[in-house]
């Protein structure tokens, strides 16, 4: 079980950043191919985002899986809402849906 303080910290990260990705490594030095793909997609779209490196904190690494009942990392959140993991982000990007989501939320120029 994840303690309340960790879940609070996750909730804070998710609500205080319009776009936040929980990933292994950092956007500059991703430590996992799936995390790398999500960072590359976000970089390509040019949206500002925060990145949380779950490898820095074992509690967050496990807690984020509980938080959204999603067993894998990376995880992308936009305006507090869980959007998906690597496959979903890739599919949404290829379909233009992710770009549209950011436009609709006013996070990139329309």
């Amino acid at each position: 079980m994840t303690d309340a303080a960790t879940l609070d910290a996750i909730k804070k990260a998710v609500t205080e950043n319009d776009v936040v990705v929980f990933m292994k490594g950092t956007p500059t030095f991703p430590q996992c191919g799936f995390s790398s793909v999500v960072a590359q997609v976000l970089n390509h779209i040019g949206v500002e985002y925060a990145a949380v490196n779950v490898l820095d904190d074992m509690d967050v690494r496990e807690g984020i899986k509980e938080y959204s009942d999603w067993p894998t990392i990376p995880q992308l959140y936009v305006k507090g809402e869980f959007i998906g993991g690597c496959d979903i982000i890739k599919e949404m990007f290829e379909a233009g849906e992710l770009q549209q989501l950011f436009k609709d939320q006013g996070l990139v120029e329309a």
Binding site: C32, F34, P71, F82, I83, G84, C86, D87, I88
Partner: protein, 89 residues
């Protein structure tokens, strides 16, 4: 079929009655990287078509697959790529 893949196939078949199911072991592409267990059978791609996905969004579809594989995800599966379709898509 290798042990973990066979268990995945059984679990997905029971939970979702797929009309098409393909499980690919991608472990060789990740051998030796941080967190990859020895012996392979850790990284998989699941391509699955099932009636259960009709009318559901991507997150809901992935949740169904993840739920069916929850025990294996906790123990054996290190990474899972999912392509989930409803019949006719």
């Amino acid at each position: 079929m290798a042990e973990v893949a066979a268990k995945m196939e059984a679990a997905l078949t029971e939970a979702l009655s797929p009309s098409a199911l393909k499980i690919t072991d991608d472990s060789h592409q990740h051998a030796g990287h941080a967190g990859a267990p020895d012996g392979g059978e850790s990284h998989f791609t699941v391509e699955i078509t099932a009636e259960a996905f009709a009318g559901k969004n991507r997150v809901a579809r992935h949740r169904l697959v993840n739920a069916a594989l929850s025990e294996l995800l906790k123990t054996r599966i290190h990474a899972l790529a999912i392509k989930a379709k409803a019949p006719g898509e």
